[in-house]
């Protein structure tokens, strides 16, 4: 048996079910590992002693029918957790402890999982490097100088560093897939409406979607099976037939038609990514899939449209953080003064930037030119996908235009930071599911991911394709535990 912390989720579950390990042993192992890994700064809030207690309690009367029996899991600090501080990576929620639980995390606890802690992320999930967090940046276990990606950077870092056996993130424009790609892990952004948004601190409501991040595709399928439920508390939750993703997982993708969109071959894309993409295509062929060249003509407009729609919604979603009801308040001379001080001290630069962009694009006189036009573009992007899905079952693209960049490299250049999302945002705009799997390394040996985009509600299909490719790729993450002295 492997060292506990390097076991995959499905191995741990199997071992618990066979009574080979106890929940307490697992929880202790991950707590130990977490304690040795503080330098990565993956956690915002630890929940270790409560987790240990719950693990002991689980072992007293283990319910082995559960899908995540006694498994400790740390989650992105965007999920509200009852009685455990939830900050969204922001000073403005630094002191906020919810009295309620997000549906997604509740689903996990209902299936036996135990909350290990809350993981670092970009402030309000706005960022691609975890550098906008009020709680400091996070290191990529691959290399101390590298960002883990963002916004689910703490989640990706913790997962790759074996601090948590699996985790969940949220993905508004790539926040699960990009960090997964940067850390050599698997990340699934489900169909919009698949996972409830209830209890998740909102960034951009029409784009936000929670999803699993894991060490392999099988784990990913299992967690997706647990967290995806119809929820009447979220009006955008969709009541569709959800598969038993893990038990229905198959490597047989013979005859599947996979589209390769020419528009994703962008200028200045590193050679390694080209190569990786071609290799991925070859693997698919080897699995019996059919490769089809396709065109998604409006791809170029996705990024600008995204950076209008997402800030617009964010500017409104974040209006509630006003110092009146909960969270941080800076006293002022009067109400307006209090608002101004609270919000300029409570929000970081990137959040303020996006609030300003969002406020601007919704302003009278600019609404039509920006917000409305962006919505039209969004429709065109959706149409592009609808059109190609008449011909193909899924689409293969790179996950990101580069491997993980250096800490500080892009932090003063928002536009080049935003360019990181170029391959991931069209998926959010169209509400589609997409998975990023580790597919190789660049010339520095840093992981690179490939993205498989599916049809609405077709998570099973992209999981299957990923599962088949995973075997062929046989990716091994090179993590040296450099942070453990």
């Amino acid at each position: 048996m492997n060292d506990i912390v390097s076991q995959k989720l499905t191995e741990l579950v199997q071992n618990v079910k066979e009574r080979k390990i106890s929940s307490e042993e697992i929880t202790k192992a991950f707590i130990d590992r977490s304690n040795k890994s503080k330098t990565l700064n993956s956690y915002i809030t630890e929940n270790f002693s409560a987790a240990l207690q719950k693990a002991k309690k689980f072992d007293e009367k283990p319910n082995l029918d559960l899908k995540l029996p006694g498994i400790p899991i740390a989650v992105k600090d965007l999920f509200c957790t009852n009685g455990v501080r939830t900050t969204a990576g922001s000073k403005i929620l630094n002191n906020f402890t919810p009295t309620y639980e997000s549906t997604v995390t509740q689903n996990m606890w209902n299936d036996g999982a135990i909350l290990l802690g809350k993981l670092n992320c970009d402030e309000f999930a706005m960022g691609s490097s975890n550098e906008t967090s009020f709680f400091g940046n996070v290191q990529n276990p691959i290399d101390k100088d590298l960002v883990p990606g963002g916004s689910s950077g703490g989640s990706a870092s913790a997962l790759a560093a074996n601090i948590t056996p699996i985790t969940i993130g949220t993905d508004t424009g790539g926040s699960i897939r990009q960090p997964a790609s940067f850390t050599g892990t698997v990340g699934l952004k489900p169909t919009y409406g698949s996972c409830s948004r209830y209890g998740i601190v909102a960034f951009a409501s029409s784009l936000d979607q929670a999803g699993p991040m894991s060490k392999n595709v099988k784990d990913c399928a299992l967690l997706q099976e647990v967290i995806s439920t119809y929820d009447s508390k979220d009006s955008t939750s969709i009541d569709f037939k959800r598969n038993n993703y893990s038990s229905e997982l198959t490597k047989n993708i013979k005859g599947k038609k996979i589209g390769i969109p020419k528009e994703y071959r962008v200028d200045g894309m590193p050679k390694e990514i080209e190569t990786l993409w071609s290799k991925g295509t070859q693997y698919l062929k080897n699995c019996g899939a059919e490769i089809v060249d396709i065109s998604l003509p409006h791809t170029n407009y996705a990024l600008p449209a995204y950076y209008i729609v997402a800030p617009a919604e964010a500017s409104s979603n974040l209006a509630r953080y006003d110092g009146v009801k909960y969270g941080f308040r800076s006293n002022g001379e009067n109400l307006i003064d209090m608002y101004e001080k609270t919000r300029s001290e409570g929000f970081g630069d990137e959040v303020q930037r996006r609030i300003m962009i969002g406020t601007y694009v919704l302003s009278s006189g600019y609404y039509d030119a920006y917000y409305l036009k962006a919505q039209k573009v969004r429709k065109l992007i959706k149409n592009d996908f609808d059109e190609v899905y008449k011909k193909v079952d899924a689409i293969l693209t790179p996950s990101t235009p580069s491997s993980a960049f250096k800490i500080g490299e892009n932090s003063n250049d928002p536009v080049s930071m935003y360019l990181n999302d170029i391959f991931t945002v069209p998926v959010n705009l169209a509400g589609l599911p997409a998975i990023s799997i580790p597919a190789g390394v660049d010339d520095k040996g840093n992981p690179l991911g490939l993205q498989i985009i599916g049809k609405h509600f077709d998570e099973q299909n992209i999981l299957n394709i990923a599962y088949a490719m995973e075997e062929k790729i046989n990716f091994k993450n090179k993590i040296t535990d450099w942070w453990i002295k």
Binding site: T86, L93, R197, S316, K325, L362
Partner: protein, 491 residues
């Protein structure tokens, strides 16, 4: 300030050479009758301790999401049907963004471009005939909380009990021309909504408030003048006062050759004046956009048909029926249908009694009592059943109208049966001709001088004899019989 009321009862304002008419449009905010809020399950009960009816959604906690209350949607559609309006199968909730301490989300969820109800009509019964007022739209929105400035000298207190309560904003076309029409319009709206059970119309509790848009123009011209909006007026009287003040203010400005600034104004009820709140330039930019937490609201034909089948007879139809079936005058019918409870009471009374008498007694004695005691008809101290009995006692001659008034007073004490009172107090009318003849003979015998004068042509004295007979009978003599017998005896 000089108001001119010409023979058509037009509300006009005259100055030196010019006569102005006033153009009024109302945005009425009517609280939807519903046990729970528009997007949460919190209670809407009025008068609870501050912040005791607030859910996590109402207080806009992180990650909380609105879920539409189907009942409120139904209520809005019902009201739309009552306003004979277009029901929009697809409507969209938008966010109206602005910061205020009692607005927890930092935006109000409302309907901007695509309201649930479109154009409709309300018919006003004015003294000089009927008038139609156009409805522009009705949309659903959530109420804000309440800021309380006078509890603590240092701080503003916020009560979120109202936060998220469902409101219908009913926007009229600029079809109203006088404070009187505003009065009738508001009452009619309230009446329709009370019939439908969609808004209790209680202005004291803030269930019905209005923003009043006022502009003036020279009589005979077509172009609308610049309007001012008077915000949040919560009684009909204040609306009328505010319109009066505002219209005259605008006329004065025009007469002085000045222009009217389009602005939002407040009505100061103590000083009876409107004051500028913010100019058009300072107007909020609400940055409306579709709420991404809510899908567009789509209702099916079946849903609307089902609601249509639940619509009761409304005031206009009821009035028509009352006039045709019960031969009431339009005036009487208007009064009796204005409140659904009154119409129910009326129809209950006339089940077993005379319509004409019932109409008179309800609109006369009963309304006077209710007014005095400040009671709703539903809380009437006299039940419809007993009023109906009283009317029958008059009709069959058991008691006179005069005695009936005495009995009516006595009935109020515990809704007493009038027959019991008649029996207990011996108030039965004296209708036995023989007994009456005896009384009359006595009166004639006691007043020989008056008899002589009467017979010599002073016929006015007839009333004197009737009075005397009534007096000696203790008021119980049947006046009709007394008249008949007296006439014979005095020939």
């Amino acid at each position: 300030m000089d108001k001119v009321n010409n023979e058509n009862k037009e509300f006009l304002i005259s100055r030196k050479k010019n006569i102005y008419e006033v153009i009024i449009g109302l945005e009425v905010h009517a609280q939807v009758t519903s046990n729970s809020k528009l997007f949460s399950s919190s209670s809407t009960k009025f008068g609870a301790e501050p912040n005791t009816q607030v859910s996590l959604v109402d207080a806009a906690f992180p990650g909380m999401l609105p879920v539409i209350n189907e009942f409120c949607v139904k209520q809005a559609i019902k009201t739309g049907i009552g306003l004979k309006a277009q029901i929009n199968k697809r409507s969209v909730f938008d966010r109206k963004n602005y910061f205020y301490a009692d607005l927890p989300q930092g935006y109000q969820i409302s309907q901007f471009k695509h309201p649930i109800v479109g154009e409709g009509t309300v018919v006003l019964d004015m003294p000089n005939g009927q008038k139609e007022v156009g409805i522009e739209r009705l949309h659903l929105e959530q109420d804000a909380g309440k800021s309380i400035h006078d509890v603590d000298p240092q701080n503003t207190m916020v009560d979120l009990n109202r936060s998220g309560v469902a409101l219908m904003e009913i926007v009229s076309k600029p079809d109203l021309r006088s404070p009187d029409e505003v009065n009738v319009y508001i009452k009619k709206l309230r009446s329709i909504m009370r019939y439908l059970g969609t808004c209790d119309g209680n202005m004291q509790e803030g269930s019905l408030r209005a923003d009043v848009n006022v502009s003036v123009r020279k009589k005979g011209t077509d172009k609308l003048g610049t309007r001012c909006e008077i915000k949040n007026v919560n009684s009909i009287k204040f609306m009328q006062m505010a319109i009066n003040y505002e219209a005259n203010r605008q006329v004065d400005l025009i007469e002085e050759g000045k222009s009217i600034a389009q602005e939002t104004r407040l009505f100061d009820t103590k000083k009876n004046e409107t004051r500028s709140m913010r100019s058009k330039e300072d107007a909020h930019d609400y940055r409306y956009f579709p709420d991404p937490d809510l899908l567009p609201l789509e209702v099916t034909d079946n849903f609307v048909e089902l609601i249509k089948s639940e619509i009761p007879e409304l005031p206009d139809e009821k009035k028509k029926r009352f006039i045709e079936k019960y031969k009431l005058s339009p005036y009487e019918a208007t009064i009796l249908v204005s409140d659904i409870e009154t119409s129910k009471y009326f129809e209950e009374v006339i089940k077993n009694s005379d319509i004409k008498l019932a109409t008179n007694w309800i609109t006369g004695e009963l309304f006077a009592v209710l007014n005095n005691k400040n009671l709703e008809i539903a809380d009437s101290p006299i039940s419809a059943k007993n009023l109906s009995k009283l009317i029958n006692l008059i009709k069959d001659g058991t008691i006179s109208g005069k005695i009936a008034k005495t009995i009516f007073e006595l009935m109020m004490d515990g809704d007493k049966d009038p027959q019991t009172i008649v029996d207990e107090k011996g108030l039965k009318q004296q209708s036995d001709p023989k007994a009456l003849e005896d009384l009359i003979d006595k009166v004639i015998a006691d007043n020989p001088d008056n008899v002589k004068e009467y017979k010599s042509g002073k016929e006015k004295l007839f009333g004197f004899f009737v009075g005397q007979v009534m007096k000696v009978s203790g008021g119980k003599a049947n006046p009709q019989l007394v008249n008949e017998i007296l006439k014979k005896k005095l020939k």
